[in-house]
Assembly symmetry: D2
Homo-oligomer: 455 residues x 4
């Protein structure tokens, strides 16, 4: 037939089953997306620490288009149901589960790795994702302390480009799908720098709950390749955790690094060794509830190229990128302002602190959403998951940083604009949430100074 | 004639001459914009402190369209020339010069004042503005310390909707014109709250240079109305400085609160008493050089309405707004990432600090702009003045906040995209700047701990 | 004072009083916009025909920023009132009144004249404009015949960037302000081509009402310069009418050739001789009611440059342009489809006729607007005046061309989306319109074949 | 495992193999996208005529999300290779191959069927599509006559959201993916109306090449269901061809009816009986080369709902729709103007003919693209396939309709803006095209009057 000739699907370099925990992934009996099926049994190309000694799992040529499967960031720990027990009891030592590393032929330290994020989408067989509110001792989140958060969850159904949730009715929005976490492998030097500077911070805030940062942790460390024990141990002992973004990219959770964007990464090791994971169907600027994006398992499509000496050419201290022409456009917005003051009723003045200003803007938006009928938890989850835009207004008008948070009006089924007659309050039910009759954790009565949290 | 009937220009409620210092404004011989000309001699409706006892200078009915003239924020202290002496020697005790207050009939505490910002434009007779870099002891700015800034300045020529600068060649952009400063008058209670909380911060950072906040200051206080001495003294003694944004709006420097936007202000005093000033032809998110916008004198057009009980109806702790449909749209952007670490070479890890992350993103952008030929000062001024977008990426990935800064590509005359062959470095000269042979201030060798600055 | 030095307003090259008929403009006693005031008495730089022998009224250097005043297209024939008599009785022999020609130093035939349309705005003293429906024998309009139109009018009040109308309540929109008519002077050869080809069409449709085209007409011809009688007569006898757009630009009525756009014109005569007029505060794609834009008098700001040999370099048969970054953005739209069939109930099939398809889409939109309460005339005027977008869908699917027309939802005060419960019909009154008791013109009973109109 | 529960893929209601001709589709051995696999052998739910007697192939409930597979519009006739023989020899009697009809429970004549187009994407196993230029006697196209077109073709590779072509190097763009053809089934009355009115047009232009319209044709008629012979014969005899768009939607080729849009269709038969096909990865406004979109086989995801009595409620003569928030946004554009004159060198004046004006704008764009190095055929294909925007400028300025065509600058790898030094001409090779040494068809010397073509 005419069309079958030269119809070659893009190769899948890492293949996973989104229903199996990351560290139990072994073989996929049937590879639904590719024509020539290699029977892979082990290893499968997942890892959850950053370390230069993790070998490349696969190698690509510049210009090659390829697919990478990703489990969700927790590795199949969260279910499509109406309780939040799985959120409450999540094992965070195992996250994030990254796919890779992928080496690019010819890449060397000092180069720039150009990565085209050509597509990001959920598995057809798993058309749903979730957003979670974590409790203070297990993950936290921007308002874990202020809200004395009980574990909560919203399940989102994927309907093509849109997401809706039975736990947050009344909204539907187009996903700005992206990898929450993507980066090149660090060099030994860079890794040492990370561990030193983060170690110093941890030391300075030794008893913070949740911790201010996460040092290397042997428990839970995992590399889905057949490594010598010595190497694996070293990786577990030294490997940087995946929680924060860093100079190589990493867990930046930038919603606009989305499908269609082109990203320029600094290269620190031979081959560049790109890893990716924590796919998000959507996310708001700030990702405020920590697990704030719509988390999903899925497929990401890439092509890459190399610019020799690109770090020097472009003064590349951290990735730079060109956003996608298809990021959702909702031109009508309601914008909330926040300043670096009084963010949880203490009336205190903070010093040009954009984090506090962001929180204030978010709290103002949450208060507004409660006026139209959402619970505080629904509002918190919605701001985290929807394509909310947050701009730094000004950070020079001492002592108040000013940050704005813009709610796109087009995502709501109802008109939520301020009206002379006030706002109509509807009943949207509630998200999945731990019943309040459950034991309230002791810490909640006992506020830490905000300085500890944001200082 | 057919067209003359019913042609009624909008009334000008505050009229100024942009060439005369704010406190010398007295009379305008010819009122070019209104038909019925009142010969005003004194007072002229400017003031530079926030205080509930400043009487309304004029009163409008809801629905009325009216114009307000504004001097530039410094009150005619800066000249269209090629030296930066005026920046270096500016008298900051006199700023900002605000026009108003304007009372709205029927507004009462607890209401929401809806303000339509219908237009913002420069005076035809003064088609230029400026962006300045201040030195550390007189104003400062985001990088005053790191850059050991010498006073510098760029003059921008207004050509209709566009600005260009002989001091920063190679760019042209559409202004997102807005009032940097707009707000309702505080109540006595609110004013007392401001003074208390800011006083506490000042006390905690007593010797900061520049100060972390600015308390009431009698020197330079000014109200351009015929007030009893007692009242004037009280205002000078207690009146809040205009530097920061606060719950009433104020100096938020939000670039998207631009002409065409609709803003909802909380009302704290009878009449609402709206004041406005610090008009900007354009500004980037963050306004990083402190006097970072393109500062101008000009005319702002308003109409207002009142929503009774709006504070309660909309949970209005601070203004909220609907942005304009004509904000400049430059869809192609180059985005820089920043994390809360190592922002001036100290390699230090900060704790989820979005201000540090913003600075890091800005530094990365400045480094890139230097690669294409701009000086550090030109780059600093350009990021401050152009319609740069800065988003909060994520503030939950401990310990790194992530902030992005997006440079619109369409404002450059040349293609500045990363290319395989590297970037072409052109010679763009330099902005107006204090010669480095001038005495370097002593403080520059002596870095304050960053905690002092951002903590 | 610091700011007065080097504050030079842009020069006004053509200065008019918008309250005086175009051919009576003589002197302006006080020139409110410029510093150095030349006492002009006559000529004043208006003309209403295209002819190479009209001398340049003023000359500019490349790069110079300058202002041009324009009367409204009718030259002050329409009043701000609630009757449509002025529309009904308009003298169309005198239109359009153009300002210019402006010669650009160095421009020669074969060059490309680059024109930056830097701003377009109404006079402060005339903050209103109008949209009119013309009757069939005097002007017509897209539906003059189908609707058997009675003269009608909507007055629009300008409130900064927005327009509202007491004759079409319930909408407010940002203007996409532009010159409806702008072009370079034709050469003698080009003029002869126009007259020949249009003459042939007129001949082929000799009795059309309204005429299919307008040949040279001595009556009403006007050039506001001190010309020798012989020259003036020649211009009147040969000069092309200003109604259609042509290769030099002219009356293209392209709404996106707006303030902020850059246009590349072919040059046909020495100096290029640019003329401009027919300023529009706003317009919808198609400008369907003929006088369909919001017509206004006002000021347009330009700068120009020359590209030598540009016609050849860019294959410039007609102007090309770069649109403005500040054109109004209303991302939510309701789109109507139209095909080239059955456009006024005749059920007839037309052959790939995009004009018919456009009309069908417009009729579908009008029917929808009537469902929400607008009269047919209000809907007709609204589609003409608001920033409606009309795209050519496809012109290859024989026999139906498909054209869409998109109504921006953000311009309506109410939610007009299709709802399960149907649409809410409000009472918006009516525009200014000739009472139907007035004599109905005879032609209305007597439909011309549609072939005559569109073929 | 946590994630597997409640993970239910959307049901595939019509399943095809894109490598098999439409009328040979029989069974798919393994259904890769659904969990419960029904072994389908025949029928398979394709048809290529519009007729009310074609039974629903499947039925859905309102709110149900479901997938439909579509073959490409030709049913696998075109290959991924470098010759255009398949284009030249295509059998047009068999097109378009539509999937469906899908009945919606509860839909009745007079209702409005709301269709959410949730996603449109190519098959993973066929990541490519094509754009073709047809010759005059077999399909034609907007410039088939003027260009004396030889059959030509460009193959496009799909790389996630982007398309690139080895036949048109130097461009890459995001697809505005959409169904070229989607509609509800006509009633018997509506079908009769179509056949009557199109028959009249065909009669009036009996010898046109290509035909002005296509009447019912028994040859090639196909319905992939197990029908009684009598019924099938009736459908073949009366069924409307699928070429044009009509009141029910149909082949409108509206690029913005894309994934993410919501469309409101009139319902003419019980169940509504929705059919879809002719998927496009991308298309420019106008689709000028006839097979101008990037044609593809693929999957479309829908959900539907019903608004009772919607035809009356919304005055629904033809579909209306809400466009998608993720349509590609390229804000920088170069816009070409066209008027209804002289479109192929005849210098003739047409009467307010938007089709001619569109052609003129397209010709001006093609001339420009040739200046930067594309061949005429490449330019023709590119304008057809890329997200080009064409607006109706004005259709009231007798005798010239004005239409614009905007080329997005962001799709080009090089800067194509007009420059003082002229345009850089690169060598982009050529598309697949019939060698000119092949026999030139006789008709080419023999120009029909343009009146015949555009009517």
């Amino acid at each position: 037939m005419a069309t079958v000739a030269n119809s070659v699907p893009h190769e899948i370099l890492v293949e996973v089953d989104p229903f199996i925990p990351a560290d139990q992934q072994k073989a996929s009996g049937y590879c639904s997306f590719r024509i020539h099926c290699i029977n892979i049994s082990y290893p499968q190309g997942l890892h959850n620490r950053w370390h230069p000694d993790i070998p490349a799992f696969a190698t690509v040529k510049p210009g090659q288009v390829f697919d990478i499967h990703c489990v969700d960031w927790t590795g199949a720990q969260i279910g499509n149901n109406d309780t939040s027990d799985d959120i409450q009891n999540i094992d965070l030592s195992k996250i994030h589960n990254l796919s890779g590393p992928i080496a690019v032929e010819g890449a060397e330290p000092g180069d720039c790795l150009v990565v085209d994020i050509l597509d990001v989408r959920p598995f057809d067989k798993m058309p749903w994702g979730y957003t979670g509110i974590f409790e203070l001792e297990n993950g936290g989140g921007l308002f874990a302390r202020e809200f004395n958060s009980r574990a909560a969850k919203a399940i989102w159904d994927f309907k093509g480009i849109y997401a809706t949730s039975r736990h947050i009715p009344g909204v539907r929005f187009a996903g700005v799908s992206h990898p929450g976490l993507i980066g090149t492998a660090p060099s030994h030097e860079l890794l040492a720098t990370w561990n030193a500077r983060e170690g110093a911070l941890i030391e300075a805030h030794a008893n913070s709950v949740p911790p201010v940062a996460y040092g290397p942790l042997e428990k839970g460390a995992y590399v889905g390749q057949d490594l010598e024990e010595e190497v694996m141990k070293k990786i577990a002992r030294e490997g940087a955790r995946t929680i924060p973004g860093r100079e190589h990219g990493g867990n930046c959770d930038i919603k606009n690094l989305s499908r269609g964007s082109r990203c320029y990464f600094p290269v620190f090791v031979k081959g560049a060794n790109l890893s990716v994971g924590d796919l998000h169907f959507s996310q708001g600027d700030g990702e405020l509830s920590f697990c704030g994006a719509i988390e999903m398992a899925g497929v990401i499509k890439f092509s890459t190229s190399i610019i020799k000496g690109g770090i020097e050419k472009f003064a590349l201290k951290q990735p730079i990128f060109l956003p996608s022409p298809i990021d959702p456009l909702y031109s009508s917005k309601l914008v909330f302002e926040g300043i670096s003051v009084d963010y949880h009723g203490d009336g205190k003045q903070y010093n040009m602190d954009a984090t506090v200003a962001y929180k204030q803007a978010a709290l103002n938006a949450i208060a507004y959403l409660q006026k139209i009928g959402y619970t505080r938890e629904q509002a918190y989850l919605l701001l985290s998951a929807a394509p909310v835009e947050s701009h730094v207004g000004a950070v020079v008008d001492s002592p108040n940083a000013c940050v704005t948070l813009a709610l796109p009006l087009g995502i709501f089924e109802h008109d939520i604009l301020p009206k002379e007659e006030g706002l109509t309050k509807l009943n949207f039910g509630q998200c999945a949430i731990r019943p309040s009759s459950h034991l309230t954790p002791a810490h909640a009565q006992d506020w830490m100074s905000i300085n500890e949290v944001t200082g």
